[in-house]
Symmetry: C2
Subunit: 702 residues, 2 copies
């Protein structure tokens, strides 16, 4: 158990603002606590002698003995004082129900800053403010003002919406879905999703962590906390505000700016979170993750008494990363013996419409005994010869015996009710729609892969950090926040290969540089260098294939074009660069920008139309490990073009992967780098070279 | 009502094979009919005097008076005779329940051919064989051997799986989902999905046509039948065997080879069918399509008492083609007056947690009155102040008053039961998960678009069909089924532009041809012409930029390379072709192949990596109309590259669209063309030119 153990297993809870006034929040919480809490409840209210028959204290400091948790429900204007009193009284865990903080304008935001300061001063573990409260079924604690208490179970659940908790409990209680702990996160002034993920990861009684979030307070902390946990405990989250419309609705609801959806997507993926879009998925997946073992392989057996629904189930499997199991000869023989003519012994097994429970169960037994089978779907349509209850009983027994995950689809109405209850009791999910049964099995696969994931530390390359810092400072000294080709040295300092080249400030120097850098072909590339010219090509600021004789004139031309474009443009000179042979070369792009929640992101894709038209790019939250960098190359749809498609020689993929990591290290080392694009990073069979670079810095961060 | 009216509204039904033997199919059907059928039932069985107390006849010919429908349940070996007897007796509608036909090996397949011949001889409307039977709630007819009768309602339902019908009825009857007609299609020896689509399209009492299909017997007929119908009646289908695994399961289940999934996708789309993947979607969509009006625009208002679920709903809207409505100033003013401080008057409207029914309903009323709003989601979480029943009553009234479609999400458990029943009674779908409510509204949008679709006839271009036939015959005479560049003339005959060029058979002729076809640049392209060499480029069989001086030598080289590659390759000569200027040119590909169910398909995409690596192509069932051809260009992700992406001049898109149509006309005119690829079809701002073509013919079809 973690440091929040006392929040979820207190002996004594004080309600500050408890009252007998029916319909009030203080009354509802006190009443909920009194009804079921196994510990003791202490009402605090200077204007009452007793509340609900319990002795009431004027203030929390005058309560004798230890109070483990204080629930604060007093009006907003005295809530911070009430929390301070808790700190003074030595209470270290406080739940602030009171609203009127950052969700309520600038005055509220100021109040929340005060609250945070008090929490820091007294080192308080503080939930809220603007929270529905917390529940812990282990101690019968319902410290919320909602109408329903959770039933005991293996799911711990956090939600940034209190109403969603109320709705879920109303619904879950009618379905015998039980919870361990429930937290309404409120404004997350102190404790946030990362704290609860860590706490529940340490709690052996929590089998699944569920969450409804509208934002993540601190992306990197969340990734770290989640990775610690997902080895033992799956985390399933709805993060709303996914779409543009949703993000703007979330912003208006919580008052905070949403980060980029791509950052959330990457961050959740890197954290090992199972992300879902709908409430239905949230609870479907929680159910099977808490009820069934993980499959050892991705092959599924389908056993049915109806061919058509068997085909639908097979389609549903084809829609996932699961596959239809191929049975061993032994299995086929056994099925052939057990089943009548007309039955199908190949997967999906069709025991046909006249099957009784015995035949159906025998087929399930044989299928689950096949070493190729990782999981099974039991799929039954109503017939005169089959009893759903008997089938359910047999399925429960066989699932237990074989220890493989099973999901069921009983395709009927109320006639399946008793059977569904039996299966559900045994942790076997049951749906009318076989596609939902299959999707549930697929999430077991997903979680097994998450569990198997090794989170290697990012490689730390030997780089020249001091030189990089000097280059960034020099740019800052020039009073600019944009750097272009003059920042090639920055890449060089971090070991990212660049073509030979140099920035010069006269035609003669250009000629000398060209002699030095030109390869066998004798030709060079020349580019104008100016912080005021972002798109050099557009103004004729780039010349390729410049012969030695033409270097001087080209220098003059480039500068003239820059002046024509913008008469006061600061021209730092001209870059003279080795011209790379472009046969077998592919232009890629590696870039970075910063997300308000997750910090630096790294982007990879192919250049040109692939990034501009097809938007075929992928991102990760930095720092990225070697395997994460490698997975970025796998991610893009155009990856075959790097790997020898259409008879070309494959490029040096390892050099791309290393460049991604080195860039990740650079932007992690220097928070001053806001955006940086290497475009193109030319990849050839021999390696990569960063041909052009552009970056924006925040001088305040240097 | 169509020609199948007598199947669904008979006065008198004979059961051939009726029996008192409990547990038998003949008993079950007779019993089901006797219990509820409003007409009369006539048992036929030579071995029984009465069946279930009804007078029984020895054979159908001895039944006095008119029999409208005969249900045949006798054993397979006498089933065809029984059907013949029906024909002799003048019965024109027969349902064959008996199994043991094409689903059961070659003997069964032969029996089915006999059955089909008998049906043809007597012009029978025949359902099955291997069918569960048919139902018509209008006349209380349950002529199936399933355990459940359908309840009356507006949905007509056909299924290629009898078990699926049993399952659906068991489930639907507990949810008060009602049906008009139900048909178990069985093996579709005579009547198939197209017949029932046509019949139900003519039936004013059928509001929605639902189907579970594993295959379409005749794609073009189905498209034609569906298009006739979708103006009035939506068609929602699950077509299983979508995935590779599913298709192979379907093949083993029904014994028929599935056509290509891409053909089904295109065909259903062109037919105006709403295709769904899961049972849940099938009935969710049927519910709203039969219960709610169509929206006039795609903007949705969300009215809720809970911010978090409001954000989730907004996300769900963002996932569809719907959008969040922007309210008028009048609406915002009205909401501002109606709602308290802290409420959100912008969409999603948050009436906040303490709202009673009155406030909630007022907000719904205002939202539905906004001219920008096309539909609404009513989304409620349980609170102390809100009654779900009152909210449901108000929602039903307001939906009726405003006439806009509404879907509801009542986020609670059994506490919502009564409210759900009230909404459901009024045709308003209600789910726990708001995403399902939104998806339901989205299908109304989809159907509105289908309804608005004008199915223009394909353009018939003025072509030289005779010349095309001669070219194909000439190839056949050469004893080949593959044509390459020598088939350029075929394209020319159908008005598809080709570069100037000619096939020659000597170096001198090549030189002359080069002089004639070379453009200003003076250079030509030369290609080997051989039916035995499919990939000319791979063997060095194509040379570009051939100067006048090099033409003779190049001729010899190309022929030598062909001989080196395959010494007995038939070399028809060398094609000398005008070399097109490739600036501003984009290579596209237009092709065709044949699907066993849908006939010729037309394919379009960009050439090179786009087709080979990114698989960015789109298909349609031929013949395609102009608007369908135009939509193919819209479909591909790389379309921006044709439309001026990255500063290039847009290509002549209308020339591409015309080429697609002309190719469609060609393959429709000549069933002998099995496959044809124009690759590349070079598109420039000025037009298109087919630079290379390859085709395979079926000589039997010429």
């Amino acid at each position: 158990m973690g440091r929040l153990a006392s929040l979820f297993a207190p002996d004594r809870v004080a309600v500050i603002g408890a009252t007998d006034r029916s319909g009030s929040v203080g009354h509802a919480i006190t009443s909920n606590l009194r009804d079921e809490f196994s510990g003791s409840v202490v009402p605090v209210n200077p204007n009452a002698g007793t509340v609900l028959g319990l002795d009431c204290y004027d203030d929390v400091q005058s309560v004798p003995g230890t109070v483990d948790v204080a629930i604060v429900v007093v009006p907003a204007d005295i809530a911070v004082d009430a929390v301070t009193d808790c700190g003074e009284a030595g209470i270290d865990t406080v739940v602030v129900i009171t609203a009127g903080f950052s969700e309520a304008g600038s005055e509220g935001a100021a109040r929340e800053r005060e609250l945070r300061a008090v929490a820091e001063e007294y080192d308080l573990d503080l939930v809220g403010p603007n929270s529905l409260g917390v529940m812990s079924t282990a101690v019968g604690m319902n410290a919320t003002f909602g109408p329903e208490s959770a039933q005991p179970g293996p799911i711990s659940f956090m939600s940034q919406s209190g109403a969603f908790i109320t709705a879920v409990l109303d619904w879950a209680n009618d379905r015998d879905i039980g919870f361990r702990d429930v937290v309404s996160l409120g404004n997350k002034a102190v404790l946030d999703e990362s704290d609860f993920v860590a706490e529940w990861g340490d709690d052996p009684e929590t089998d699944v962590i569920l969450g409804y979030l509208e934002g993540i307070a601190d992306g990197p902390s969340f990734i770290e906390a989640a990775r610690e946990v997902t080895d033992d405990t799956p985390i399933v989250l709805v993060k709303s505000g996914r779409t543009e419309a949703g993000a703007s609705a979330a912003a208006s609801h919580t008052g905070t700016m949403a980060g980029s959806e791509r950052a959330y997507e990457a961050g959740f993926d890197q954290a090992g979170v199972v992300r879902v879009d709908t409430v239905q998925e949230l609870f479907d997946y929680a159910g099977i993750l808490s009820g069934q073992p993980l499959p050892e392989n991705d092959s599924v057996a389908v056993v049915t008494n109806a061919g058509g629904p068997g085909v639908m189930t097979t389609d549903a499997i084809g829609d996932t990363a699961l596959s239809m199991a191929s049975f061993t000869d032994g299995t086929l023989d056994a099925l052939g013996e057990a089943l009548p003519d007309g039955a199908n012994i190949y997967n999906p097994i069709d025991v046909i419409g006249d099957a009784d429970t015995e035949r159906f169960a025998e087929a399930i037994d044989i299928a689950l005994g096949d070493p190729n089978v990782g999981a099974a779907v039991v799929l039954a349509c109503p017939t005169a010869t089959l009893s759903f209850e008997e089938l359910a009983a047999a399925t429960v027994e066989l699932q237990d015996e074989h220890g493989l995950p099973v999901a069921a689809s009983l395709m009927g109405g109320d006639s399946t009710r008793a059977a569904r209850a039996m299966l559900s009791e045994a942790g076997i999910p049951t749906y009318f729609d076989p596609a939902r049964a299959v999707d549930s099995l697929d999430v077991l696969r997903e979680y097994r892969e998450i569990q198997a994931c090794e989170y290697a530390a990012p490689t730390t390359f030997d780089v020249d950090r001091e030189r990089a810092r000097e280059i960034l400072r020099a740019a800052a000294d020039r009073n600019t926040n944009r750097l272009g080709v003059e920042a090639m040295d920055l890449l060089d300092a971090y070991g990212i290969p660049t073509p030979d080249g140099e920035v010069v400030d006269s035609p003669d120097a250009a000629r000398e540089a060209a002699e030095r850098v030109a390869g066998d072909a004798g030709e060079v590339v020349m580019k104008i260098v100016s912080p005021d010219i972002l798109h050099k090509s557009d103004i004729g600021g780039v010349e390729v294939g410049v012969t030695p004789e033409a270097v001087r004139d080209t220098y003059e031309d480039l500068v003239a074009r820059a002046r024509n474009y913008q008469s006061d443009a600061r021209v730092l000179g001209v870059q003279v660069q080795e011209q790379l042979p472009l046969d077998d070369a592919t232009e890629t792009i590696v870039g970075t920008n910063r997300d308000p929640q997750f910090g630096p992101l790294v982007l990879f894709g192919l250049g040109g139309i692939f990034v501009e038209v097809l938007e075929d790019t992928t991102v990760r939250v930095a720092p990225v490990s070697e395997s994460e960098a490698a997975s970025m190359v796998d991610d893009i749809e155009s990856a075959p073009l790097l790997r020898g498609a259409r008879g070309r020689e494959p490029v040096a993929e390892d050099a791309i992967v290393e460049t991604i990591q080195r860039l990740s290290q650079l932007v992690t080392d220097f928070p001053a780098i806001l955006e940086l694009d290497i475009n193109p990073l030319v990849a050839t069979p021999d390696g990569v070279r960063a041909v052009d670079v552009r970056l924006t810095i925040d001088k305040e961060e240097l």
